[in-house]
Symmetry: C2
Subunit: 217 residues, 2 copies
Amino acid sequence: MTLSEEDYIKAIYHLGKGKNTSVSTNAVAEQMKTKPSSVTDMIKKLSEKGLVNYKKYQGVRLSESGERTALSIVRKHRLWEVFLVDKLDFAWDEVHDVAEQLEHIKSEKLIDKLDQLLGFPKVDPHGDPIPSKEGLFNKASKHLLNEVSLGTSGLCIGVKDSSAPFLKFLDKNRIALGDTIKVIDKEEFDDSLLIEINERQFRISQQIASNLFIQIS
Amino acid sequence: MTLSEEDYIKAIYHLGKGKNTSVSTNAVAEQMKTKPSSVTDMIKKLSEKGLVNYKKYQGVRLSESGERTALSIVRKHRLWEVFLVDKLDFAWDEVHDVAEQLEHIKSEKLIDKLDQLLGFPKVDPHGDPIPSKEGLFNKASKHLLNEVSLGTSGLCIGVKDSSAPFLKFLDKNRIALGDTIKVIDKEEFDDSLLIEINERQFRISQQIASNLFIQIS
DNA sequence: ATAAAATTTTAGACAAAACTAAATATTAGT
DNA sequence: ACTAATATTTAGTTTTGTCTAAAATTTTAT
């Protein structure tokens, strides 16, 4: 597997996850910041290698083996993120680009030992689950904050958007994974929420709420 | 810098280090396991970028900036080796290939933090010095075991050949860095040595001796 | 000193992964 | 159902790093 092939597999995985449908050429092109024609070329190659199922004009879908490959890359990415935060004191908004490079390192032993060093973590610094070696997830039930009913409280366990600007916003507002969040009130006009975290009450917009996962107590 | 450019810079560095002379195209080709014509092409590119000094038919030599680049790669390689051995329990004969990949990861912060995590080591698991961020070495005086005079004793501080077979041989014979070695006798016929390590006396060939560095007490 | 041998460079090609422009297929709007 | 708009693929180039074969230069050996 070349670096580029791995990037495509990961892109197709992320675009297709959840939905049970195939991924369009254009969507992959946008994700990969490349042109649709380049995507077609690469998809053909991946298809010949049996990593994706592809019929002209019908989009792509990962095959069994493509899925395994994707999960192994995601596993590596997330373990490296944990390493960067737990062992090297990176902030959670600084890890993405480095993990993006580290995920391509080829050594099964390296990843097994890293997993061990980190104490077999189940989630990465953004609360995303780390697939096991066998490609299995912790399917913990989690809810977007903007979708839970008024009065609900729960543990903040993850973010949907893990871009640096959003994570920095959370830091600035002292919202961290592990905090208990309670939804006090909802404003009908703009769907903003009044929430309580550690005795503090404040208002967050719908955009913020729709990117925070909580586990309902 | 592409991956390939970095590999060439490193190869030229290793071939030229010590000697104060330029490196031949053929030598680089052999080291890189590629053809001389490919080397010529790459050298031209590196020369345009100011990383090497090159005149047709006269071999190459790293420029100031090429040297800095090489040292930064060597620093990364050796720090990762320490990480693999100290933190992930790799054996010293298993680290090379993985470090070869890790050395290309681009993040200054990553390397600084790694250095800190490891306690600012001065040498890698094979006893090779780790350049500082500024590209400075610990120029500890070390001697090849086959070159010291009879009766000399000292600390085993490094290996010249760090290939897996040689390192495995040392493990099997319970010779490790940090051991005190004394040269008891030398056989004129084949230049083999009778040495003493931890009360044990045994004979090693000239080939072995010429790949062990000691620091004379 | 010069011919033979070895080394190095040039020229021309190829594979991977990207691109642009043009052609083709699908989807959507009326 | 048919046309317009959109999405996708094809064809033909480009760039990077490699290769082979041939030409040029340097070194070695008589």
